[in-house]
Every structure is written in structure tokens, then in C-alpha cells.
Amino acid sequence: MSTLSEAAVGLRELTIGQAVNEALAEEMRRDPAVFILGEDVAEAGTPFKVLKGLVEEFGTERVVDTPISEPGFTGIALGAAMTGMRPVVDIMFGDFLTLVMDQVANQAAKVHYMSGGRLKAPMVIRTTLGATRRSAAQHSQSLHAWVSHVPGLKVALPSTPADAKGLLKTAIRDDGPVVVFEDKMMWQLKGPVPVGEHLIPFGVADVKREGRDVTLVATSSMVQAALAAAEILAGEGVEAEVVDPRTTVPLDREALVASAVKTGRCIVVDEGHRSYGVTGEIASAISEGAFYHLDAPVQRMGAMDVPVPFSPVLEDQTVPTPESIAERARALVRGEL
């Protein structure tokens, strides 16, 4: 169901990591203004090896290793963006967004508006989200709600290799700041990816699986969990529709509402903390738009409101799973909620 560019001349299987790498290489070949900076992005290709090979092709002038100074190099990227460049900043863990919030929220997000539209900041921040890597509380957070809350920032959440490529290429060509979150557990996920030019417009949700009985709105890491839940439910005769907004800003409210109107039941699943987060925003958008078509209140499933714990026994309880999503969907379909 992915939106495939008509210009695509073919498909082949890539991992999300490879798709990200390909998007960056293509954009850097296309536009000399694009460059990468961050910690261990060059020869190391990041600790996750997602950027492997880029420094060999583009050199250390365009794949720039920085000191461990997230606010500093994010600010430098912003200054470069305001003066003709298109930097792609690598923030190794989403948790480190907390370090750069002044440069992102006070500076990059606002410069276009504060200057009356005269200055622009075309920059991308690539970072991560997702728990269950046994990385504990400071390397496991999903903080996309933080940046989604700040007007001026766009926020993309790819969940497949094709989306990872298409959303990142669109982000790089956007004239404002975009934060792209990749699930650190999904870089090895394989899927078909169009060769060459493949752009996914922001604000267009994607129906990853069609169904008539219940809508599962899922983001990023939770899309695969929702698809697995849908598979379980299908075995029980319940047809779940899985809808991926792909960008929280802009948010495709119409598509989410349309699916909820169709099925009359909806669960929103997102790996951010449940309170004051993405599930709250999406659930209320659906409630506002589909209220008279719903059989039950919109359900929300997010990460537990606890710091992410280390021990597997503890950590695994904190995020929704295919089983927990399927269980909630069953209850919803049975009219128990």
C-alpha cells in the first residue's frame, strides 16, 4: 500500500538502514549544499553503521565528524542552513534531543516566523526513538511529541524502508527544519524500496493494511506491532485496518478520521509516553472528526509513564506489543470498552 513514485524504475529489498543511506547519498549527489554532521558519522558511519560508505564517496568536508557537543553542532547546522546550505544533523540517540532543545525549539523552529518569513532554515535532524534495546532510561526514549509540540518544526516517523527513503528525501528538500525519527530497533527491517527518485509528501497517511472492523493508527516502531496484531486478529475473523500517519506534523487528520468513520472503532498506538503525547493528540483529532460514527471511545496505547527500565523483565512491559494491541482490539470489537 506504500505510495510509490511513478518515476521509480524498479523495486528491490533494502533494510531501513540501507534506505536511509541511499536517500542521503542520492540527495548529496543531487545537491552540493547537502552535508552531514554529527558524532562519529564519517569513518565510523555512526555506531549503527547506517552512514557507512558515505564519507568514502563525499569526503570529510561533507560528512563531518564533530566533538560531542550536540547544541554546538546543531547551532552550527542552523547557521549553515540560514546561509545557503542544507545540513543533515545526526543526533545519535533521541534522548540527546533534550540537549539541543534551545537550538531546535527556540532558534530553528522560529527563525522563519520571527523574521517575517525572510530567513529560512532548511535543515534535517535525524535521530532515534524506541525502547526494548536494553539501553535503559537515557538511551530509549521516544521524544517525538516534544518536537511535534513546537510550531515551525515538521516531524517524520518512517516505519518501512520505502518510507524511510521517501520521507528523508522530502525532509532534505523542505525549506524548513524537519526532525526525522528512526526506530533504532528497525534499521535491519527489510522491504521493497523504489530505485532512484522517490519522494513521499508530508502530511499524507498511508494505509498499511486495509480492514473493516477496527482501525489501528500506529506510528514508527508501532506500525510493525500493529501489523502483527492485525495478523493475529485476522485469524480470529477480525479485520483490522492499520493506518500510519508517517508525519505527526503535518498530520493527515482527514485520513485518520476517514478510517475511524469506516470502522467505527479506533486504537492509537505510539511509543511515546501515554500522557501528554502523540496518542492524545491523534485520539482527540479522531474523536472530534468521527465522534458520531464511533461505537466506543478512541483507545490509546503508548509507553508506560515510567522512565524506561533496564531489566528485560521490566522493560518489556513498558511498550505495546502485538499481543497487547490485539487484546485491546478484541475487547473493543466485543463492545467491552
Binding site: 549553515a80 545557503g84 537550538q103 527556540n106 527563525v111 523574521s115 518569513g117
Partner: protein, 320 residues
């Protein structure tokens, strides 16, 4: 950039800032200006001396006390007043106000309401200039208060590592808001940039010619690819932290203020030099003063008469 700026022009630019700021203060006191402003009075020689060493296409970033930098880089008085008054004709179409004036045509990447917040922007502009093969340089203006911000040290470190064409201009006006900088700043101030291997100079910030000479040397160095510089300018904020800070006796004495105003005012100092050297007669300076007052008054009138933005513009320019 002229090798040596016209002294008369330096004087005129400082005078323009002085009269501009006086009128800002009046507008505030008369409750005709929304919000408040941080006046640059007393520090004019720094902005004027540094910007006289720059080309139009060189970059600056400014601070919450930014009117002087904007004017010194060539901003027009009328559009400045329009912005301070929240008008459509302002530099930011009324969306930025006093602390966010940016002027892309003159390389002004914006004043900034976060202390030290533009250190990254200036350093990034310098990186961009080099990446694009341009010989532009970037100047980052900040006060002694910004010495407390970690961002400054992170970016100075990278600027030195990568030999970026950026000049860090620290205007030490003695006060971090209401606190003397000696209460907040440990050790030798200039040891900080030197620790990063950054070329560092100190200058009397009330002497516009000295500031210009030091800035010109730093700019030349940056343009030649020899890396960043740090210029510490000793200066003084004649007025309060902002226009409403009128009772200052709890943090500094009247005697201190009077002595800076009497003995160390940058405009009086240059006027004395111009007349003593025979470069200008007192009556010429008086005529210039009148001319500048007229220009500023016209700017105020323009700003006051200019229309506000359409309310519907509130939703414009959120996303590029």
C-alpha cells in the same frame, strides 16, 4: 570595505544609534511601544567599529541588546522603528520586535533573545561561507553574560578545530543583567578563548577607532583562512538592563555611571578627537547632530503611522 573608514562617518553612525535609542526610551515611557527594549547607549563604538570593518555580505548575529548592531550593519531607521512598534513595514513584519530584528540583505542573521543563543548560527554561517567557497566572514556579538553559556565554548572549539572565519566579539559592559560580571566569571576572561587556540585581543570598547583597527585585523585574518578570533571590548551600559530598569542603586552606584558618562562616552571622545585634530569644527558636529535627529524623528513618525499587520498574517510564515 575601506581600509580606513571615514572618521566623520563613524561619528555619524554612533550618533544615529544614540538618537535612535533615546527615542526608543521615549516611546517606551510614553507607552507608545509594546513590550520593552534593551538600550545600547554607551556601547555604540563596538557595533560601529566592528561593522565598519565588514562588507555588506558579511554576516553578523546580534543579541537582545541589538539595535546598535542592526543599525551599524546598515539597517534603516524607519523599518527598525516600524518593527519595534509591531508594524507590517518592520524588518520582521511585526513578528519579531526589538529582540529579533534580522536584515538578510545586510547579512544580519538576527538579534536573539536567548543569551549566547546565536553562537551556533554565527559559527555555522562561517562554516557555510567556507563550504561555498566564499570569503565572507561572520561576526558573533555577545555580552559578558553569554560567557556563562556552554554553547559558546562548544562552538568556539569547533571554530578553532575547523579554522572557521568567525569573529567572536564580547562586549563586556560589566553587567550580566543586574549582576556584576566579576561575580559570575571565574578566572581570566581571555584565557577562555585562548584555551581553544583562538587569536584573542582586548580593546577599549569606547574608542571606535581602536575597535575598528582590532576588528579589521580579525576580519583580515578570517578572510585569509587563518581562523577565528575573539575580541574582548571593554565597554559600559549607560542605561539599565532594559528601559524599565531605572532604579539601579542596588547593583551599581550613581558615581560609577556618572564617571563613564563624563569621561568614557564613546561619542564625546570621538567628537573631542575630531575637533582637536581639526577634522571637524564644533558647528559641523552640531549640524550633523541636527541632521541625525531629523532622520530619527522621521523614522519614528514613519513607524507610528505605519499600519499594523493584517490579523490573518498570524498564520503565515510558520513553515517555509
Amino acid at each position: 570595505m575601506p581600509d580606513r573608514p571615514d572618521d566623520f562617518d563613524l561619528y555619524r553612525r554612533m550618533l544615529l544609534i544614540r538618537h535612535f535609542e533615546e527615542r526608543v526610551d521615549e516611546l517606551y515611557r510614553a507607552a507608545r511601544m509594546p513590550g520593552l527594549a534593551h538600550l545600547y547607549i554607551g556601547q555604540e563604538a563596538v557595533a560601529v567599529g566592528v561593522c565598519a570593518a565588514l562588507r555588506d555580505d558579511d554576516y553578523i548575529t546580534s543579541t537582545h541588546r541589538g539595535h546598535g548592531h542592526c543599525l551599524a550593519k546598515g539597517a534603516s531607521v524607519d523599518r527598525m522603528f516600524a518593527e519595534l512598534l509591531g508594524k507590517e513595514a518592520g524588518y520582521c513584519r511585526g513578528k519579531g520586535g526589538s529582540m529579533h530584528i534580522a536584515d538578510q540583505e545586510r547579512g544580519n542573521l538576527g538579534a536573539n533573545a536567548i543569551v549566547g543563543g546565536s553562537a551556533g548560527i554565527a559559527t555555522g554561517a562561517a562554516m557555510s561561507a567556507r563550504r561555498r567557497g566564499s570569503d565572507q566572514v561572520a561576526v558573533c556579538f555577545f555580552g559578558d553574560g553569554a560567557l556563562g553559556q556552554g554553547l559558546l565554548y562548544e562552538t568556539m572549539n569547533m571554530a578553532s578545530l575547523w579554522r572557521l572565519p568567525v569573529i567572536y566579539v564580547c562586549e563586556n559592559n560589566l553587567y550580566n543583567e543586574y549582576t556584576h560580571y566579576l561575580e559570575t566569571t571565574a578566572g581570566e576572561l581571555t584565557a577562555r578563548p585562548r584555551a581553544f587556540g583562538i587569536e584573542t585581543a582586548e580593546v577599549d570598547g569606547q574608542d571606535v577607532m581602536a575597535v575598528h583597527a582590532a576588528a579589521a585585523a580579525a576580519v583580515e585574518r578570517a578572510r585569509a583562512g587563518r581562523g577565528p578570533s575573539f575580541l574582548l571590548c571593554h565597554t559600559y551600559r549607560h542605561r539599565g538592563h532594559h528601559v524599565g530598569d531605572v532604579d539601579r542603586s542596588y547593583y551599581r552606584s550613581r558615581e560609577e555611571e556618572d564617571s563613564w558618562l563624563r569621561d568614557r562616552d564613546p561619542i564625546t571622545l570621538l567628537a573631542g578627537r575630531l575637533t582637536e585634530s581639526g577634522t571637524a569644527r564644533p558647528d559641523q558636529l552640531e549640524a550633523l547632530d541636527e541632521e541625525v535627529r531629523t532622520e530619527v524623528a522621521a523614522g519614528v513618525a514613519f513607524g507610528l503611522e505605519a499600519p499594523f499587520p493584517e490579523p490573518s498574517e498570524v498564520n503565515e510564515d510558520v513553515y517555509a
